[in-house]
Symmetry: C3
Subunit: 300 residues, 3 copies
């Protein structure tokens, strides 16, 4: 494996290898060392959280970083092409972590340079390191990825996180509930794909009726900007707010995940329940990204 561009590229076995290595790094059984290796963090689209998670992951295993944030870099301003920027960076760094708003940019990068590329989000397309940390959070809390019942809640139309997740779980016999406002439903291409693969799913509008069935509830932010008018936003936004009163009869193994940042999709009172797992999920991201970096840099 030379790059991590899309969950679509990964076999079930490869996913399991990532999960296994992350667990061994977390437990201390594996202690990868990437001393004197440089990761270039090219965040053409800013994302503080993802940036910090990668910085931490690199440095916790002894590596170093340099960062380009936004598109205001002096070379870009001077009219340099993305090709040349990437090619030059690849002369300095040992690996590139890249986040853009442009679908396919990470794939393109992997064709331009000879060093590994990690896709840290390319527009509405893929965010595979997030997917892998989500899977790691599931396996840690459920003991397995197989046969889980999952509720995906919020903006299912634009949320690349949930798209990747559905993709990633396809070989693990999941059962999905998709809960969203009408015009933020899962894209038809994904629905079509699920049908073709005979994966169980149901599109719903209310969470209450199914929450007690769930192993995992994955909540995403509903952004005002996605709505045609403020009224339409106001109408639905509260239907997808998770509060403690909804958690009375959930399963013991039930966990709430969220890619963060949260705005008000989950009330703060939920944080104190044993079902809240979103901050631990963020921590799991550091171990998973250490695993990804170690594998791609052949440090384990």
């Amino acid at each position: 494996m030379n790059n991590l561009i899309s969950m679509r590229d990964l076999s079930k076995q490869e996913i399991e290898r990532f999960l296994d290595i992350a667990a061994k790094i977390e437990s201390g059984e594996l202690r990868p060392d990437i001393s004197r290796k440089l990761a270039a963090l090219l965040f053409f689209e800013p994302s503080t959280r993802t940036l910090f998670s990668f910085e931490t992951a690199v440095k916790k295993i002894g590596g170093e970083t340099f960062s380009m944030i936004g598109t205001s870099s002096s070379s870009v301003k001077k009219g340099e092409s993305l090709h040349d920027t990437l090619k030059t960076i690849s002369m300095y760094a040992d690996l590139i972590v890249m986040r853009t708003t442009i679908e396919g940019a990470a794939r393109y990068a992997s064709e331009v340079v000879d060093i590994p590329i990690v896709n840290a989000g390319d527009g509405a397309n893929q965010h595979p390191t997030q997917s892998l940390l989500d899977l790691y959070s599931m396996v840690k809390t459920q003991g397995t990825l197989n046969n889980l019942t999952l509720g995906l809640v919020g903006d299912l139309r634009y949320g690349r996180t949930v798209h990747s997740l559905v993709q990633a779980l396809k070989d693990f016999n999941p059962k999905f509930y998709f809960a969203s406002p009408a015009h933020l439903r899962m894209p038809s291409s994904i629905i079509h794909d699920l049908k073709e693969k005979n994966i169980q799913f149901e599109e719903i509008e209310e969470i209450d009726s199914i929450i007690n069935e769930l192993d995992i509830m994955y909540v995403t932010r509903i952004q005002r900007e996605r709505f045609p008018s403020l009224e339409e936003y106001e109408k639905v936004k509260d239907s997808y707010v998770i509060d403690v009163n909804m958690l009375d009869n959930v399963k013991d193994n039930f966990k709430i995940l969220h890619p963060l940042p949260r705005v008000n999709e989950i009330t703060k009172a939920v944080d104190k329940t044993p079902y809240a797992y979103y901050f631990e999920q963020a921590k799991n991201g550091v171990y998973m990204r250490q695993a990804i970096l170690s594998i791609l840099l052949k440090a384990i």
Copy 2:
């Protein structure tokens, strides 16, 4: 000790421990190692100098950093609460250094997260790492903190540095002269506190009359913005400019401190005298911050 929030939290013994550890790090007797530890430098209020001092301190003892400067980070923009930002950062980092314009923010942070918090300035309130490096500079140049005669000069009303310093020295039998323009005098709460503790102090308008008595003169910047009008600023600003002609009869052990940046409170000619100590003071800050980091991370 789990956090460093305010000088008010520190006993005389704790202050002496910081001074002792800083001295041992400077001499090379102690060589703390915080390899693979990450310090998050959250500077909601930018401060290049303090940021660089902390970056240096962390890296000189083998640690690593990641930094958030200003409030324009993408998570803050997306509407994330300070609570969630801090909580998430605490999943990545081993310690948080935090600078804000909001009094009490560092204390709040220490209640939210489980990792150590270092207050690097919270508004007009506290800046304890500055106070400790100031004390370290005093003990290095005077041999003791006890029984010193100190002149505090400039903006005594808004300068958190001088407030913390007065606080910090209360158990060491100091004698203070406070020299400032009339409407930038030491706040009445501090005056009241000094009276109650029977600490000697005098409020003056001229420095000349007392400079030859001093062991330490601590100079701060008088900011134009603090004055109701430009005329009032122009009237007083030159009264508090330190020049070589004032230093003819000072004590041999006399030293001038300044938290920097200096604008024109001290003329450049003073730099060449043996009394100028403000740049060494900045260097002392690196040793003191190494001591603070090492103690809070239990690396010594």
Copy 3:
């Protein structure tokens, strides 16, 4: 050697030492270690590429950095003088890499502080680390610096890179062709200097006639801003675009260098020829900067 300010300060022997150390670092024969050393990267004029090259160089040999980009730092805003900024930084860092728009700023810095200064470009004046990496690229591809025939192409008037290069090669018996639009010709001071030193050179307008004689062609960007009008720019810009059809009969050892970023001075088709060397040149910069840092920090 305590600083690297200008190629004019370097003897032929000193240049050869830099080239030798860079080669030994690249081959692995020398492995300098600057652990726990801090390089302050002060880029008052932003330059992503040069910044990343230095960051990589520092970290590849175990050192650390902190960076100030632009002139918007809080200390500068507070009215601090360049003198005080440099003096304070020198209390934290072990070496300063400095890029400014102001000619002579690096020399001034070396007079203010006691730690080594590396000039990473001071306006139109000098960029000695670029010159040294250019020389290293020449010696790697030609086996020697002596008796080379070089074509310098593009903006020869404002390009500090080509000025430094002409300066740097003066003791190696070069033969120069200078190809540029009429009003972007090599400055008369340099022409005068070459005549005085009896160095062979010719000013030309067409590259085609001489390209087959060349060992090295050094191409620079022609910036629109340098032209009095858009028409004048449009008239000449294509005369200095290097394309594959010009390379049919070049010498086997012929190499094209470019300090990058490239806009359209060299077509992308050239990248695939064996004559393209500009990206390797960027990589050579990391080895050369490791050599410079190691020598100045006395780490070898």
